[in-house]
Structure formats: structure tokens, C-alpha cells
């Protein structure tokens, strides 16, 4: 669930994100097969996806900034189909697996419950990524431009800042985050070409609950969504997904712009 927070906080959730996440997992899988090193797999997943992100943005997405949002949705959706099918063509539909690294194997006794060490490590990695992301978004020049670009692209352009290049950076970083997420999640879930579909839907739900383009909205939205899934899974597993969507519907009725969303911003 933590991964969806990163997507939400970056404000770059799009329909290709699930597919990029899948590509990242496979990049990690290949690297792991060759090197046997999980760290190398993480690095390769992130680096490869940075390249993919840059290529896709320069080659395609760039043409769409002046077009209506519906066209942008359609093109990212098309990119997702091509990526997923490319994975299927290269690797086949069989499920693959990256084992958890040896330093994170085993189980921790948390007194109340037993918990796999690797999941705790993932939690730590997500936490660290969030801190890093917060730092970049709110404490650096790039972050300021990114946030301003989300608010008012034209104005930032007029001020003499090349927003196009900033969008490239953001798209690239978003893809990189997706690739990284794909690798670190691979030991927990199975690696299949369309493994990204679930996380895509969950990211959307987090963004809708938390509010658009809000860092804290994404964090709170992610935590709420995680809690709902975990709690209903304990009591009534069949309803856990349904509960999540019900809460989303409630937020829409009571506060359509999301918990932390700013009114009027689309």
C-alpha cells in the first residue's frame, strides 16, 4: 500500500503507471537472474525505468501537453497495453518470482504477531523514499518548480523556467519510482505481465480519497486505504476490496475534492 502513496504524492498517477511498475519488476527479475544480487536488481529496475520514462515522454507524451486531458488518458492507456503485451511476448504469461534477499529472509517476532522481515524492510524503504520525496518536493528548487508547474504551467513558463524539461524530469522520476516499486514488491507478489492492474486501481483510490496533488493527502489516503484493507480482511475477507471502494464513495459524497484536496483544482 505504501507504494501507492509515492505515486500519489508525486502527482503523476496515470494509466501507464501500472504497466511501468510491471516492466520494473521484470527488469529486476532479469538482473537478479544474471547477478543473483537483489540490490543490483533494485538499481537496475529503477535505472531502466528512468530510461523508459524519458523515451516515452520525449517520444509520445510530450505531444500531448496541449491536448485535452481525455487524449492524455487515452495515450497513456495505449502505452500501458503495448508495454504489458511486450512483457507477455518476451517473458510469456507464466508467473515469475524474485526471492527475498538473504539479509531480509526470515520472520520477526513482533510479540503480537509474526511478520516476515522483508515486509518490514519494505516499510522502511517506503518510509525513507517518502522522506526523500518530501525533501525534494518542498525543500529544493526543482520541487518548487514541479509544484508550481502542477498549479499553473503557463505562469511558470512566462517566468522563464522551462516547464517542459521539468515535466520530463517528473515523468522520468515517476517511471523510476514505479520501476523501483516493481522490484521491491516482486518478492511479495508474483511477477506477471499484468501485475500492475491492481496497484493502479489502488493508487487511483488513494488519490481520490486523499485529494489531488497533495503530499499529505496521499500519505493519509494511503494509510486509510491500508487500514481498511487490513481490518476488513481480518473480520470479513470477502468484503475487504468492496469496503475500500465504499469508503471512496463516501469521501466523494462528503468531500468530492478529497480529504486534502484544494477546491477548484482539477
Amino acid at each position: 500500500m505504501g507504494l501507492t502513496i509515492i505515486f500519489g504524492a508525486l502527482g503523476v498517477v496515470n494509466f501507464a503507471h501500472g504497466a511501468l511498475y510491471g516492466v520494473g519488476a521484470y527488469a529486476g527479475f532479469v538482473t537478479y537472474e544474471y547477478t543473483g544480487s537483489f540490490v543490483a536488481a533494485m538499481a537496475a529496475g529503477a535505472a531502466f525505468l528512468l530510461v523508459v520514462g524519458v523515451v516515452v515522454e520525449r517520444g509520445l507524451i510530450r505531444l500531448y501537453y496541449q491536448r485535452p486531458p481525455e487524449d492524455q488518458i487515452l495515450v497513456t492507456f495505449g502505452v500501458a497495453i503495448i508495454l504489458v503485451e511486450a512483457l507477455r511476448a518476451v517473458f510469456g504469461g507464466l508467473a515469475r518470482n524474485i526471492p527475498a534477499p538473504s539479509w531480509a529472509a526470515g520472520i520477526v517476532n513482533l510479540r503480537v504477531t509474526l511478520y516476515p522481515t522483508y515486509r518490514i524492510d519494505v516499510l522502511a524503504i517506503v518510509g525513507a523514499s517518502l522522506v526523500l520525496l518530501y525533501f525534494i518536493l518542498y525543500r529544493t528548487r526543482l520541487g518548487l518548480i514541479v509544484r508550481a508547474g502542477i498549479e499553473d504551467q503557463l505562469m511558470v513558463n512566462i517566468l522563464g523556467i522551462n516547464v517542459t524539461r521539468t515535466f520530463l524530469t517528473v515523468f522520468g522520476l515517476g517511471a523510476m519510482a514505479a520501476g523501483f516499486a516493481g522490484v521491491i514488491n516482486a518478492p511479495i507478489v508474483t511477477v506477471t505481465p499484468d501485475m500492475g492492474a491492481d496497484i493502479l486501481v489502488q493508487s487511483f483510490v488513494v488519490v481520490v480519497i486523499g485529494g489531488v496533488g497533495s503530499f499529505w493527502g496521499a500519505v493519509v489516503g494511503g494509510l486509510i486505504a491500508g487500514e481498511i484493507l487490513a481490518l476488513t480482511a481480518m473480520i470479513q475477507p470477502a468484503y475487504s476490496q468492496v469496503m475500500l471502494f465504499t469508503v471512496m464513495a463516501l469521501v466523494l459524497i462528503l468531500r468530492p475534492q478529497g480529504l486534502f484536496g484544494v477546491e477548484g483544482r482539477q
Binding site: 481525455e70 487524449d71 488518458i73 495515450v75 503495448i82 487511483f204 476490496q241 471502494f245
Partner: protein, 618 residues
């Protein structure tokens, strides 16, 4: 009307698309044996997807609402119908299909009500999320009725009609004719909807939803209605899926099903109604053909994905759009419409008197009043405690230096933004917080500082939108009458076009107008609602001096019988038009009176000169 029936040629022209469609579908069975991989089964599935896509095309192609959740209604309609037949609550397929369609529509109301609270990508995300919710409901909590991941098996062959007229359909050929009838009827209905006043408003919503609302249309209600109609088409197609296969699979609820619908519609051509059917043909036929070719079989979906991206990037209207474009290129072009003749309007009232010199001071009843109107943005008070009264037939100018709060004040008058405190009264009734749509319906209409037109509609269709709002009220669900046959509406369009001198530009797309013409269209959109009070926000913004003079003359002509409030920077325009002037400065009203009095007012001079002297960077 009898004349129409007597002219088969006219009738044939009117139903040409339906006739062509029927001809192709009737001939198809004879051709099937000669088409590689051509079977009734694949033809039936194509027709079912085409029917499914008709609703989606109305929703996306015509209204601009990109939903990724149509599978929710496809599945819902399908499972309700299938369950009714196997339970069995009914043995009649028609009853099951109708109940399934109604059920899908009811789900459409709920999902639409929630999803339509957001627009653009968030609307798409929400429909996708609700689609997923339906899928999870289907496979787990409702598994007792839906068979969970196994689906509902043993859906009987369809039996139609009652008593003596009962027909049992027990072969794919029979099913084909059932689908042909339903598709043709569905296609005809969709075409009626598109051609109706309701359809005209849908296109306006796609082009510029905010403006459609501002000229008096209840946009959320229009969106919800078309969402439900799309859900109904999906539900019917879903019900038919169960009948076709004798089995209702949970795949109907898959996100991939929604995605496939989107891809097919785009490939075929969104906004064409026939596009989804063509897209379905491409998808299903490619699948059948490529499946058996070694080496390519596994790649067929990727090929489709690439076609999709290319089409979205280059041919936004898919195969149908590309064919139409080619057709136009190849067919002899009529000479392009001549450039507009210089506005040599016959000056009916050639020597118009300078208004302020001649007119007595306005003395009619007060029609619009604000009491202590205030708007705060955080710590900034943009409009501070402004009370003002407007008399019937008056032309009032609101002026002030940049940042005086004119536009904010103006937007509050039109109910575009709500005030922080204070009230607005129209003819003695409190209209504060009614919203732009209702205020427009009552008779206050606003033209915008930045053009808010419907760019890809013609001037005629642009003006049609406000005229419809006046003629039929804020919501008009009649869908079966052609909008172009409404003589009163057509007359209203002509009238509005003449009053803003666009009569000979009626069939030009608004996007192709010159700037000054767009500006006049902008005023025309507000005027065509036949308001009692017209609010004009900088009508001459960006115009050349010559255009300004023309516009002042035009405004003076349309002012007869109207009450006007105008915000303007150009003092020639202000003093050439206004009966009285209100001056705002730093959000406060500092002066009000006849133009002569304002010209001599020391406070006004100080405000303008002072701000000029200081010349702060905005």
C-alpha cells in the same frame, strides 16, 4: 407532414444510414461462407460489442466523458438477465433483457451520481475503480447468485414473445437476426438522440461545460442522463452476451472489458456511432485471423495497441474519421466560403444619437441590487461592502483601475462565484447562491472577458445552445425530435446572429472565426438567452480601435429594451455607452453617478492617477 410521407426520396435520405446498415447486415449472412474465419458466432459477437459501444460513444464521443467502467453495467445487466432465466423467474428472454437493462440503468444512476462529481482523469479513475468494485462484488459476496469465478452456466436459448407468438431461437443464425434488429433499433435511437435538442446540449457540454452551464443548462443532469443511457445500452449488450454464449462469464466485469470497449471505439472512430461496430470488427476479426498464425498470434494485442496509439495521436476520429477525411479530399471541393464582406451593415438607424446626451436619467424600477456584497480571499478583501442598485433599461458601467475588484464583483453578480457575505437581489428576490445556471434561467446572462465559446461547433450550433436554454428551460429530456426542425429555435438563432452581425458566418466553425468575430459570438451567446439583464465583461478587450467603434455601435443597438452592466477599461467605450457609472477602487465603491459627474470627481481622478503614479508591478 403528409407531404413528407408522399416523398420516398426524402424519407430515404433521412434514413440513409439505417438503410445502408440494414443492407449490409442482410447481405452479410450470404457472404459469410466466403470470408475467411467468417461465422455467425463472430458476427454475433461483433454486433453485441457494437451495441455496447453505441452507449459508450454517446457518452465519450458526443459528451466527452471518458469512462473506463462500462464493463460494470455490461456485467450487471448480463448477470441479472442470466440469473432470471436460470432461476428461473421467467422463461421469456425479452423480459429478462428488459429487467437486466433496467438494473444496469439503476446502477448507472448510482455510479454516475458519484463519478460525475469529478472531471477529466479523475472521472476516468473513478469509473475504473467502481468497475473493480462491481467485479469484487461479483466474484465474492454475491457468488451465491453469480457463481463467483465460474459465472452462470446453462443460460437457455432465448424464447421471445408470448402465447401463440412464442418463437424459440436455437441456432446462431436466429440469434443473428435478433441482434440485427436490436442493433439497428439501438443505432436509430442513438442517432435520434444525437440529432435532438438533448444531443445538441451534450456536444456543448463536451466543448465547454462551464459555458453550457452559464447559458442556463443544468449540465450535471445532462451528464447523469447520458451516463444512465450508456449504462442501459451496456446492460442490454451484457444480457445478450449471456444468451449468445449460453453462459454468463465473470469476464464481463473485467477491467479489460472496459478497456477493450474504449480501444474499439477509438479505433473505429469516436463520435460517429458506427465507429464502435467497425472497431469491434477490427478487434475480433484480427484476433480470429492472427490467432492461428505462428509467431504473430501472441503479438496480436500489441499490434492493436500500436494501432491504437497511432490513431489517438494522428487520427483522433479513428478509421471513420480517416475515411471521411479522405472522402473530402477526393470529392470536388466547393469553393471556400467567401471571406466575410466588410461589415457594411445597412445602417437602419443611420444617425444614432449619442446616448448619454439624449436619454433622460434612468428612472425605472430597481431590477438588480446588491447589499453589502463582500468577497474575501484569505486575508485579501477583493470586494468590500459594495451596495448598488440598477434600474430597468439602464446601461451601467463599472470602472476602476486594475485590481479594483471589478471582475470579482461582476462574477458575483452572475453567480459564477459565491460572495463571502452580503446579498444579491433580482427584482426583489434574493438570488444569492443560486448558481450561474439558475440565474441565467431567471434572466441574467454574462459574456466573458476571455472568450468562452464552443470551438468546434459552427456559429449556428453555438448560438443554438443558449436559444435552447431559453426555449426549453434548464433541462430538456426530449430526445426523439430533430433539433433542426424546431422553427422557433431556428428563428432565435437567426435573430441572435443578426444582432451580432454574424448572419453570413452561420456555418463556419467557431474556431475558424477572426478574433473580432469570436468576440461578437461571445456577446451573442449571452444575448441569445434573451436576458433581461446583460452583463458584459470587457466586451472590447483585445480589439483594434476600429473594431471598438463598431462594437460600441453594436452594443448600442442591442441595448434597446435591455438593462446592461458593463465592465470596461476603454474610456471611450464607457463614456459612449453608459447612463451611469460606478467606480470601484481597492474593492470599495468610491463614486457613482452620471458620466459627467464622474469625469469631474476628484476621488476618481486620484484613484486613477494615484495608481498610475505608483505603478506597482501587478
Amino acid at each position: 407532414m403528409s407531404a413528407r410521407a408522399a416523398r420516398p426520396a426524402a424519407l430515404a435520405r433521412r434514413f440513409a444510414p439505417e438503410i445502408a446498415l440494414i443492407a449490409v447486415l442482410v447481405v452479410l449472412p450470404a457472404a459469410l461462407p466466403y470470408i475467411r474465419g467468417g461465422t455467425y458466432d463472430i458476427a454475433n459477437r461483433i454486433l453485441d460489442w457494437g451495441l455496447f459501444g453505441l452507449g459508450f460513444d454517446l457518452l465519450f464521443g458526443f459528451t466527452g466523458l471518458l469512462s473506463f467502467g462500462q464493463a460494470a453495467f455490461y456485467g450487471a445487466g448480463g448477470f441479472v438477465a442470466a440469473y432470471l432465466l436460470i432461476a428461473p423467474f421467467t422463461t421469456n428472454a425479452v423480459v429478462a433483457l428488459i429487467v437486466g437493462t433496467v438494473a444496469a440503468s439503476i446502477f448507472g444512476v448510482i455510479v454516475g451520481y458519484l463519478s460525475l462529481r469529478r472531471t477529466g482523469i479523475y472521472f476516468a479513475m473513478l469509473t475504473l475503480a467502481f468497475n473493480e468494485m462491481f467485479f469484487f462484488l461479483d466474484i465474492s459476496p454475491l457468488a451465491r447468485w453469480t457463481g463467483g469465478e465460474n459465472g452462470v452456466a446453462g443460460v437457455p436459448e432465448p424464447r421471445l414473445g408470448f402465447g401463440l407468438f412464442t418463437i424459440n431461437i436455437n441456432d446462431p443464425g436466429g440469434l443473428y437476426w435478433l441482434l440485427v434488429v436490436l442493433f439497428v433499433v439501438g443505432f436509430w435511437l442513438a442517432r435520434r438522440i444525437v440529432a435532438s435538442p438533448f444531443g445538441a446540449v451534450l456536444r456543448a457540454v463536451r466543448e465547454n461545460g462551464a459555458r453550457a452551464a452559464a447559458v442556463g443548462h443544468d449540465v450535471p443532469k445532462y451528464k447523469l442522463t447520458i451516463f444512465v443511457i450508456a449504462a442501459a445500452y451496456s446492460g442490454l449488450a451484457g444480457g445478450l452476451l449471456g444468451l449468445l454464449q449460453g453462459y454468463m462469464p465473470p469476464d464481463a466485469f473485467y477491467l479489460d472489458t472496459s478497456g477493450q470497449l474504449v480501444v474499439q471505439t477509438i479505433i473505429g472512430g469516436a463520435g460517429t456511432l458506427i465507429g464502435p461496430l467497425i472497431g469491434a470488427t477490427v478487434w475480433l476479426y484480427l484476433y480470429t485471423l492472427l490467432q492461428n498464425i505462428a509467431g504473430i498470434g501472441a503479438l496480436w494485442k500489441m499490434i492493436l495497441g500500436i494501432i491504437f496509439v497511432v490513431l489517438v495521436t494522428i487520427f483522433r476520429h479513428g478509421i471513420c474519421g480517416a475515411v471521411t477525411l479522405l472522402w473530402r479530399r477526393l470529392s470536388p471541393q466547393p469553393p471556400p466560403a467567401a471571406e466575410p464582406p466588410p461589415p457594411a451593415e445597412p445602417e437602419r438607424r443611420a444617425a444614432e444619437p449619442r446616448r448619454s446626451a439624449q436619454r433622460p436619467p434612468p428612472s425605472g424600477p430597481v431590477v438588480l441590487a446588491t447589499r453589502n456584497l463582500t468577497k474575501r480571499y484569505g486575508g485579501l478583501t477583493a470586494v468590500d461592502d459594495v451596495s448598488f442598485e440598477l434600474r430597468e433599461g439602464e446601461i451601467r458601467a463599472v470602472i476602476g483601475p486594475n485590481g479594483a475588484g471589478k471582475s470579482t464583483f461582476f462574477n458575483m453578480l452572475a453567480n459564477v462565484i459565491p460572495p463571502s457575505s452580503g446579498t444579491i437581489e433580482f427584482k426583489g428576490e434574493d438570488i444569492t447562491g443560486l448558481g450561474a445556471t439558475l440565474v441565467c434561467q431567471r434572466g441574467i446572462s454574462k459574456s466573458f472577458q476571455i472568450n468562452q465559446i464552443f470551438p468546434s461547433l459552427t456559429v449556428r450550433d453555438n448560438l443554438r445552445i443558449p436559444v435552447l436554454a431559453r426555449a426549453y428551460g434548464k433541462f430538456h429530456p426530449f430526445m426523439l425530435r430533430a433539433v433542426t426542425r424546431d422553427a422557433a429555435v431556428n428563428a432565435g438563432i437567426e435573430e441572435a446572429a443578426s444582432s451580432v452581425q454574424l448572419r453570413d458566418r452561420l456555418d463556419v466553425p467557431a474556431a475558424e472565426l477572426a478574433y473580432g468575430e469570436k468576440r461578437r459570438l461571445e456577446i451573442g451567446l449571452a444575448l441569445a438567452t434573451q436576458p433581461q439583464i446583460l452583463l458584459l465583461d470587457e466586451p472590447t478587450a483585445g480589439m483594434s480601435p476600429a473594431e471598438r467603434t463598431d462594437t460600441v455601435r453594436l452594443l448600442r443597438r442591442i441595448a434597446a429594451g435591455l438593462t446592461i452592466v458593463i465592465v470596461e477599461h476603454d474610456m471611450d467605450v464607457v463614456f459612449g455607452l453608459a447612463d451611469r457609472i460606478t467606480v470601484l477602487f481597492n474593492g470599495r465603491k468610491i463614486a457613482e453617478g452620471a458620466p459627467d459627474a464622474i469625469q469631474g470627481n476628484p476621488d476618481v481622478r486620484a484613484a486613477y492617477l494615484g495608481s498610475q503614479a505608483a505603478h506597482e508591478p501587478a
